[in-house]
Symmetry: C2
Subunit: 140 residues, 2 copies
């Protein structure tokens, strides 16, 4: 079921500093910061040949990564995102296996404009897993 690793997301307290590190010390290609107010984050994309790293800084009052940074002020790896062909099928299969989908259990439109869901980290070895449908159109 799971396909490509779409990205690894790293929460950081200072996006400009983290971005400069990836560019200057690690010599990676980094994007300009992109504000995603609907998702409560500002993102810098680190482009690697086979996948990408997303550096996330909280944006706004209700950022989903604020609590993570309270616990880990220096930052840390926040989640991994795997691609799936059909997010509805994926949700049904996972729920049948007893895995909990965060929120109301329904896929949402994610930061890339594609349907996503998040699995409860307690069900997956302390790892927050995002699933993203590779195509933007959700099956009816």
């Amino acid at each position: 079921m799971i396909g490509r690793l779409n990205h690894v997301a790293i929460a950081v307290p200072d996006l400009a500093a983290a971005s400069a590190q990836y560019r200057d010390a690690l010599g990676a290609k980094v994007s300009e910061p992109v504000e995603e107010p609907d998702h409560g984050v500002t993102v810098v994309f680190v482009e690697l040949p086979n996948t990408k790293i997303e550096l996330l800084e909280p944006l706004g009052e209700a950022s989903p990564i604020a609590k993570f940074l309270e616990k880990s002020p220096a930052g840390g790896i926040h989640h991994v995102c795997y691609e799936v062909d059909d997010i509805g099928d994926a949700a049904a299969r996972l729920q049948a296996k007893g895995a909990r989908v965060l929120g109301d259990g329904e896929p949402k439109i994610g930061a890339h404009g594609k349907p996503v869901l998040f699995l409860h980290p307690k069900d997956f070895n302390g790892t927050l897993i995002e699933l993203e449908q590779a195509s933007a159109v959700m099956a009816p």
Copy 2:
């Protein structure tokens, strides 16, 4: 400088259970467990189309992931590994930028038989970064 994301390593308390989850719930292709006594871990490789996930369980008395699992008994994302062309050049560049290489600062032969080094997570947003030379032969 950094190239492909070679792998994401996830420390798990129960490798058989984690492996079954990735196979059965997430539908991924997983390897048999591989014991790496020299590195203090038993590993299951989750093969994705563009990279791999390494599920790590402690092996032996002095496992490098034992402390991590003491702090996070359910498991969690342990490190990310980026490929570099020349590990010696990478170490020199990073140290010139003030980043600390763990241990004595010298690259070691890693679990894949290739030269690796680890960067101090305090220097990289709480993220433990492994660098692995893509070719097995170290420059003199």
